[in-house]
Symmetry: none
Subunit: 414 residues, 2 copies
């Protein structure tokens, strides 16, 4: 079954507004096993709407058109529909009566232009709009259905749930149920993940990559005759992928990395503190994004200059002079100093050169040292994040620090 | 001139992600006097991309295709292009050499599948991607141009500004000269700004509002027979708007608020430190976004729990017990304590209830206190940011802190 959407509204294509209708409808339809194959965004012009309609009808069995059913002069959808289907627009008597009742109920005068909202192409089936003035309508021709609905998200969603989806079920015997899962990964590039998964037997399960810097998200979609069959297929592929990616997968739901870290800290009853230089507070800001993070986040220090590393974290002048502020030794001293002075169980530190200035041949821009102090001692890491600008180096450094905390906590005895 | 967009990516039509490319490109093109007539969103399938391409080429002179140029198996755009234009895909030697250099520079192994990213249809013009691995390319046929660009917003935006728009200017003689300026404002709502500007004489200068939370950006676009005429028109309206909005305008160029603050600190030779509770390091992270911020940013403390407010900032236990951590008195003590212990000239503090938990009838979620300690003493503020969730309260608090620092610095004697 091929389904297409046409979203009308000049504001969607002239840079004023982002289209949110597609996501809304795609998610509702997906639950019914219906995939959207193409979406067309067009402005409020009869000719453009008509062209889009003809194009979608040439390749889809179901076309949903949103928007352009209001009372104003730039609401053009019904006129485009009349033209494409070569049907006259007629005033629907029932729709008019209901609209008059609505206005009476809301104690508001009905304008002449509201009457236009009762014009539908002959033979259309009216789709009532209980929470607005723009009714929808549906037209059948040659076994294909075209459904016109208002653009206002709340009205559209209600109409989709209560009328459009039942209509599709009634007219088309829908085959197949969908099962989907998204695995969020961190620490491997898109091409590395691709290579690791190259020979995974997917069968007819779809695998899609989405780069959400600095993470790579993998979405598995399986279709089966029943929900159980679809889930079984999906789970089979998920197990294969898990075996390849292991701990690179940090969640299989909507959670952010900092939420995963927070839950691990809570689970083990551990408290954390941060000592940041080049990331300037980004690690602390991410950890405290989570409601209730005061349970496990004690404090953070942004010791950007050497004086602060000395006074706040007790990093010695000798160490700074001998190795430089960006060094394994200083990262280590920062983490240890923070852990001791804060009383936290764990302290993580980041020091590096975010650029664009400050690089040297030995320590180029992107050189970052991290350390994690714990009751078991202290671990350090040396990275060179060379891909990109200051923002990318900092963002990647902060995410890497959280990921190291996560991996450390995964090994914590429960 | 008819321009169409094709945004590829299954995540755009299956409900996972909202399309933001259209808004980004439409705004950039509008500045050049170019309107988008239709946008097509399609999944990562050769046949669907090819169909969309053929359809757009049948009615537009310029077609921009975003996405699907990565190294993975679901990156299908170059194959669809080869099919539609009936051209072979050939490995571009220059592109390959540059990609190899990029990987060498970043000290990362280049995968075989990255080589695919150097395949372009014969006769294509390469569009370099200085901040990613996916080059773009442009194809001419019958006087029409089809331009293929990566889908990653930052890479796409850079390529659009530096290569796509110049290419369009070079190939099509665009009429009229455009003069444009964006005034970034902070501290007033969109409707308040709208009201303040209601009777400003715009003439034929276009005024567009863009909400970029928590800022409101105003873009003035003037078109004239020459650059000078366009600029004169634009400047006339800008002067009128400046008179209404005054200090709410924080910049008239691309700078971020933290860059404006940084330049003011540098100008006056002042150094700053931060003491944050509910914003969890966001103020420090923004200040240190700026290259060279170590000139003026001394340090930051994220004193999330009371213990840290005590030990790091010397906030007294009595004060915390008497007024609570979220109070004017504690904000004041945090700023004063940070200023004294860091040796900075200025210290700014934020303490508040970001929610969703922790609110009380007297101090509901969104209650935030700030203080700014300076050689002249200490100022405090009490806000209630009631609009929105935890993320919005924190983001708005951090931006407000920076804006208060900016307004304070504007009054500093030079």
């Amino acid at each position: 079954m091929r389904l297409e959407l046409i979203c009308t509204g000049s504001e969607l294509i002239d840079g004023r507004r982002i289209d949110t209708t597609t996501k809304l409808l795609a998610n509702l339809f997906r639950e019914e096993g219906l995939n959207v194959f193409r979406v067309t965004l067009v402005g409020d012009r009869d000719a453009d709407i008509a062209k889009a309609l003809r194009s979608s009808l040439s390749q889809a069995e179901i076309v949903i058109v949103s928007g352009g059913l209001g009372p104003t002069v730039d609401d053009r959808t019904r006129y485009a529909a009349a033209e494409v289907f070569r049907r006259e627009l007629v005033e629907d008597a029932d729709a008019l009566r209901e609209l008059e009742e609505k206005f009476a109920l809301f104690n508001r005068p009905m304008m002449d232009n509201n009457r236009r909202q009762c014009l539908v192409p002959t033979g259309a089936r009216i789709l009532a709009n209980p929470i607005g003035t723009a009714n929808g309508f549906a037209l059948e021709e040659g076994g294909k259905w075209t459904i016109f609905a208002p653009g206002v998200p709340r009205e559209l969603e209600l109409m989709a749930r209560e009328q459009i989806i039942p209509l599709i079920h009634e007219q088309f015997a829908l085959k197949g149920q969908v099962s989907r899962v998204t695995l969020k990964t961190f620490g491997k590039t898109e091409s590395a993940v691709d290579k690791l998964l190259a020979d995974v037997e997917l069968g007819d399960v779809e695998l899609a990559f989405t780069a959400s810097f600095p993470e790579i998200h993998l979405t598995l979609t399986a279709i089966g005759a029943s929900k159980t069959i679809a889930e079984r297929k999906r789970n089979k592929v998920r197990a294969l992928i898990r075996r390849r990616l292991e701990e690179a997968i940090f969640t299989e739901d909507e959670r952010e990395m900092e939420e995963v870290v927070g839950e691990l800290l809570n689970k083990h009853g551990l408290k954390v503190a941060t000592a940041e230089s080049c990331t300037g507070g980004m690690v602390a800001a991410r950890l405290t994004n989570v409601p209730g993070s005061s349970n496990y986040f004690i404090e953070g220090a942004v010791t950007y200059r050497n004086e602060a590393k000395l006074s706040r974290l007790g990093v010695s002048e000798e160490l700074l002079a001998q190795y430089g502020a960006v060094s394994e030794q200083v990262a280590q001293a920062m983490a240890v100093g923070m852990r001791e002075s804060s009383g936290a169980d764990l302290a993580i530190s980041v020091t590096g050169i975010a650029g664009p200035e400050g690089g040297t041949p030995e320590k180029p821009v992107g050189t970052v040292f991290m350390a994690l102090a714990s009751p078991q001692g202290v671990r350090t890491w040396h990275d060179t994040f060379r891909f990109g600008d200051r923002w990318r180096v900092r963002t990647l450094s902060a995410a890497t620090a959280l990921n190291r905390l996560r991996k450390f906590l995964l090994k914590w005895p429960s």
